[in-house]
């Protein structure tokens, strides 16, 4: 019997070793990605870059016909940006709340691993106002607009009300564009925060008519390994009325939705979603999708419609039967967190109506994926074709200089990027826009 158990151990080893057929990368994108069979591991694939940061004269790379410059460097974990009509830029500096308990031996390893790939600076957990007073494209004045927030992420301005989503509540502050301070804040509504607060970023966007906010709330686990009780109101997008803070679940089954944006000139809400881990290097692809009122997108029971995740018990075949397959796969484990649509402005015509996606970058994969801002072409309001690398160079020689988190178009049509690991805000201009060529660009 002892010999038999040795044989079993040996076969388990062999099983773990023979798993990875090369999977065609080109087929893992778009409306109908080819999904490989799920794998189970003794050691799930992992790949993490060493974080080195940006040198003083280094910038990410942009395609020919564009320039990139640092609006600000040496920030403290900039994760989100809100460009204002007068050219000011609000920057949300933040880091995780750090309240995730060690519930399993694995959590010790996991928290150490993920902690390694974030920036070395202590996150600010505040909102900064950056102002460029001399018009050279570089912010030369900085003020702390809102200090001491609890892991803020989402930020939105509706008229003279500034909304900031901390990890456990949406706050509202009276604010006028041009001012460098806000009035006293009040809580519009609470959001699911701690305990655990695994996916802690709460992104918000205003409805086109300004009467509602949509708030993304990520799951409290990979695939409910912390129990279903921990997932109430999570892995969902909430609709919140701005007049009285009343809210309802708008869409569910979205594991970690961020980058909430309305398609320009429409009432169609889009989001990018981080899908589940530990099923393989190429499973499950993160995605970009339009969000339907009342829609269920699979998590935790299934992915891409009816692909059931065997790790989740009990099953729920009824819910799986109505799980919506997302519009567009962005690629496995790219960690898409930011989304912005080009609605006009200075970018060439072929980019108009397309989406720019900030991909924070993979950890759950042997070969790094993401670590770029990708461009997704749209036709008739729907994503189409293959995503193209647009802003790159965040990883060089296997080392991370930065990681893009969110993207937003400034009123002048330039694209702003928040880089939390590189502690910078970048601005991409079309070279033909006649914009100033700042001295920082070489």
């Amino acid at each position: 019997m002892i010999r038999a158990s040795f044989a079993l151990a040996a076969s388990a080893l062999a099983l773990a070793a023979c798993s990875h057929p090369q999977f065609p990368a080109a087929e893992q994108y778009g409306a109908n990605p080819r999904l490989p069979q799920p794998q189970l591991y003794l050691f799930p694939p992992m790949g993490l870059p060493k974080v080195v940061g940006w040198g003083a004269d280094q910038t990410p790379k942009v395609p020919a016909g564009f320039t990139i410059e640092a609006v600000a460097r040496n920030l403290h974990g900039p994760r989100n940006i809100l460009p204002l009509a007068n050219g000011d830029i609000l920057v949300v500096e933040s880091g995780g709340p750090g309240v995730e308990p060690v519930l399993r031996p694995k959590d010790i390893v996991f928290q150490w691993t993920i902690g390694r790939v974030h920036g070395k600076t202590k996150p600010g957990n505040r909102v900064l106002l950056l102002r460029d007073t001399d018009g050279d494209g570089v912010a030369d004045a900085q003020s702390v607009l809102i200090p001491k927030l609890k892991s803020p992420f989402g930020i939105e301005l509706i008229g003279n009300q500034l909304y900031v989503a901390a990890t456990d509540a949406i706050w509202r502050y009276p604010f006028t564009v041009g001012a460098t301070s806000v009035g006293p804040g009040t809580i519009l509504t609470a959001l699911p925060g701690g305990p655990i607060d695994h996916h802690w970023t709460k992104d918000i966007v205003a409805s086109p008519d300004g009467t509602k906010l949509y708030a993304g709330v990520g799951s409290n686990s990979n695939i409910v390994e912390n129990g279903f009780e921990a997932e109430h109101g999570r892995a969902a997008i909430w609709e919140v009325r701005t007049d009285d803070g009343a809210k309802r679940l708008y869409a569910t089954g979205l594991r970690n939705p961020n980058g909430l944006s309305f398609y320009p000139g429409s009432n169609t809400l889009f989001t990018v979603v981080n899908e589940r881990d530990e099923l393989g290097n190429n499973l499950v692809p993160d995605y970009l999708t339009s969000v339907r009122d009342g829609g269920f997108y699979g998590w935790p029971y299934s992915y891409y419609g009816g692909h059931v995740d065997a790790r989740v018990r009990p099953h729920d075949p009824k819910l799986v039967a109505r799980a919506i397959s997302p519009d567009y796969a962005l690629g496995p484990h790219v960690a898409a967190l930011g989304l912005a649509f080009a609605s006009g402005g200075q970018f060439p015509a072929r980019y108009r109506g397309g989406a720019f996606v900030a991909e924070h970058g993979s950890w759950d994969r042997t070969v790094l994926n993401g670590y770029q801002v990708a461009f997704v072409p749209f036709a008739n309001g729907k994503p189409t074709g293959k995503p193209e690398p647009f802003v790159t160079g965040f990883v060089a020689d296997g080392k991370a200089r930065g990681r893009p988190v969110s993207v937003a178009f400034a009123p002048d049509g330039s694209l702003l990027i928040a880089d939390d690991t590189g502690d910078a805000v970048w601005r991409v201009r079309a070279a033909s826009s006649g914009a100033p060529q700042p001295a920082t660009v070489r």
Binding site: I2, P105, S221, E225
Partner: protein, 149 residues
């Protein structure tokens, strides 16, 4: 069968340290089997977490107990080592190898960490423990024989 040179080398006030420590891996690995069974009958993550900690401490305390066992075995003159001491050693190694794999399998999230391979490994670990324990008891008996005037 007299084994004049075969006696516990690592001892504390005359009690063998190995014998004092083996309770921990035994209790942990047996406990992990019960929490696995609880999980597959009603998959609340609490039981899977129970199993993971029990397996982790079972492995850790098992390695420490095995180190003292190895000192007892290899610290004795070669000629004095009874054959079952090697079998007991092999059994303990089997338990620790199974336990190591089981720790990795249980680190998977949700149902797949326990049901199937995980539970099977837990059963095999406990079966291997039973055999190893019986052999260990025989060894203790040999020690006793040696100690008898």
């Amino acid at each position: 069968m007299p084994n004049p040179g075969f006696r516990p080398r690592a001892s504390l006030f005359g009690s063998p340290i190995h014998a004092m420590l083996v309770h921990f891996p035994i209790a942990c690995f047996v406990g992990a089997l019960f929490s696995d069974l609880a999980y597959v009958s009603a998959p609340h993550p609490q039981w899977a977490n129970f199993s993971e900690w029990l397996l982790a401490f079972g492995e850790l305390s098992g390695v420490i107990a095995a180190l003292f066992g190895a000192i007892d075995l290899f610290g004795s003159p070669r000629g004095s080592r009874p054959g079952i001491a090697y079998l007991h050693f092999l059994g303990a190694a089997t338990v620790l190898v199974l336990g190591l794999f089981n720790n990795l399998v249980h680190a998977r999230d949700g149902w797949s960490g326990v049901a199937g391979t995980g539970l099977l490994l837990s059963v095999l670990t406990v079966l291997a423990l039973l055999v190893t324990g019986l052999l260990g008891h025989r060894l203790a008996f040999v020690h006793q024989e040696r100690a008898r005037p």
